[in-house]
Amino acid sequence: MSGTLRIHVDPDKCQGHARCKSLAPELFELDALGNAHEIGDGTVPAGLEDKAWLAQANCPEFAIAIKEE
């Protein structure tokens, strides 16, 4: 089963490595201090699921959660 994915960056864990933003610029953006957060409500548009998983698998702080809805 493949439902819609929703991503969320834990702001307490993120330290601004920005790996997610460079791997999936459609899904993540950086704030003024360089910390990442999900774009919009974090819903992953169809076709970008692999990028979401890739970003999660490369975060050195384990700051990205992905929920399947």
Binding site: Q15, H17, A18, S22, L33, L54, N58, P60
Partner: protein
């Protein structure tokens, strides 16, 4: 000053300045990891060495038991060490000290510098491309971050040679010789004091002025001492780490024709390959001081000891990275900790990545074929930063 005794028992008596470690540390870490996740030595007044990803991460996140006020493991521990914020800062002072430095090193700011770094790389390549051979460490990898930082600081390019000497005195000679560390620090303090005075009279828009214009948590300008400390940090933490990372990448490519050919054919793979080079050849090992008794991965740790916080060893942990000892340039899942984790994540990480990417990209464009020069000798730096200091290469297919 006599040389330290050679190591015969790595698990109980390791020495990160032993020639065997300098030459090839990877089998040593494998041996230690198999024995115990945290090794200890009585050398350097007592040091713990975590070799697993888990133990390294745990220490990084634990600012209660581990202080960052000493980030280089040495034979001596001056009291108090001259601060270089934010790397030597602990919470709560750390947060603001880091925020001050963040903006000039954000990805967008770094992107503005990219054309300059590209020009520096090509200028350097122009200097040796018509030769059949070159020492890529002396003529290329070292010069890129040095020239980039002099540009950012707004100081003469020739001052980069001073920076190289200070870093060597601080990070290599200084491990066994405190006088060398203090001499380098005093020279750096005097150098930046002069730069700060000159900008008070004639303001500029470079990084030194940016720091001078920054405000502390109390809304007041930073003290000259804070500005000088932050500038010393930029030199000591940002230069030989980056030149080492570029050098190790070229060292790998010089002896791996398949990877070289693939990156020439698929330059879009370069960002992924750079992350793998960062994992496999992480240049920087940091330090911590144990402040309160605690236990990490089952190993008791006592105050008075320091920790050699080996990001390179964590990145070779086979429990986290399949085929950890292999360089896989299209490795997709790569949660490496080359830039540290937790609050002390390297502030210059985005700059370092850009310099690595541009340096390798421009080199491969103009010198797609090269190999190690069998008549030359490769030497590696000693101490807490690892990278080739002499990298003799033969250029072209000839």
């Amino acid at each position: 000053m006599s040389s330290p005794a050679p190591v015969t028992d790595w698990v109980r008596d390791f020495d990160h300045t032993d020639p065997r470690w300098t030459e090839n540390p990877y089998p040593i870490w494998d041996e230690l990891r198999a024995e115990c996740p945290v090794a200890h030595t009585d050398r350097f007044l007592g040091v713990y060495l975590p070799t697993t990803y888990e133990a390294v991460k745990e220490i990084c996140y634990d600012t209660e038991h581990f202080s960052s006020r000493r980030v280089v493991v040495r034979n001596v521990r001056p009291e108090p060490p001259p601060p270089a914020p934010p790397i030597t800062s602990d919470p709560p002072a750390h947060k603001h000290a880091k925020q001050i430095l963040l903006s000039p090193f954000l990805p967008d700011a770094v992107r503005q510098l990219e054309p300059r770094v590209r020009a520096i790389c090509n200028d350097l390549i122009d200097g040796f491309i018509n030769d059949k051979s070159c020492d890529a460490a002396a003529r290329y990898t070292k010069r890129i971050p040095i020239r980039a930082i002099t540009h950012m600081l707004g100081v003469p390019e020739k001052d980069g040679d001073l920076f190289i000497r200070w870093i060597h005195e601080m990070l290599e000679l200084g491990v066994h010789d405190d006088n060398m560390v203090m001499k380098a620090i005093h020279e750096m303090v005097a150098y930046f004091a002069e730069q700060i005075e000159s900008r008070k009279k004639h303001p500029t828009d470079d990084l030194i002025s940016t720091l001078m214009n920054a405000r502390g948590e109390d809304g007041q300008p930073l003290t000259d001492l804070h500005v000088q400390g932050a500038l010393r940090l930029l030199l000591v933490a940002g230069l030989d780490t980056t030149w080492s990372a570029i050098g190790s990448s070229l060292w790998h490519l010089a002896q791996t024709p398949a990877d070289r050919a693939r990156l020439v054919a698929e330059p879009e793979l370069l960002p992924t390959a750079i992350e793998e080079f960062l994992r496999a050849f992480s240049p920087a090992t940091s330090g911590r001081e144990v402040m309160k008794e605690t236990t990490v991965s089952g190993c008791p740790m006592k105050p008075g000891n320091t920790v050699l916080l080996s990001f390179p060893a964590a990145n070779r942990d086979p429990a986290v990275f399949p085929d950890a000892d292999k360089v896989i340039i299209d490795r997709k899942e790569n949660r490496h900790v080359a830039f540290g984790v937790g609050i002390h994540r390297c502030v210059g990480a985005h700059l370092a990545r850009m310099e690595m990417l541009v340096a390798i990209e421009e080199w491969l464009k103009r010198i797609p074929d090269f190999r190690l020069d069998p008549s030359g000798e490769i030497t590696w730096s000693e101490g807490s930063v690892r990278g080739p200091r002499q990298l003799p290469l033969l250029l072209g297919t000839g």
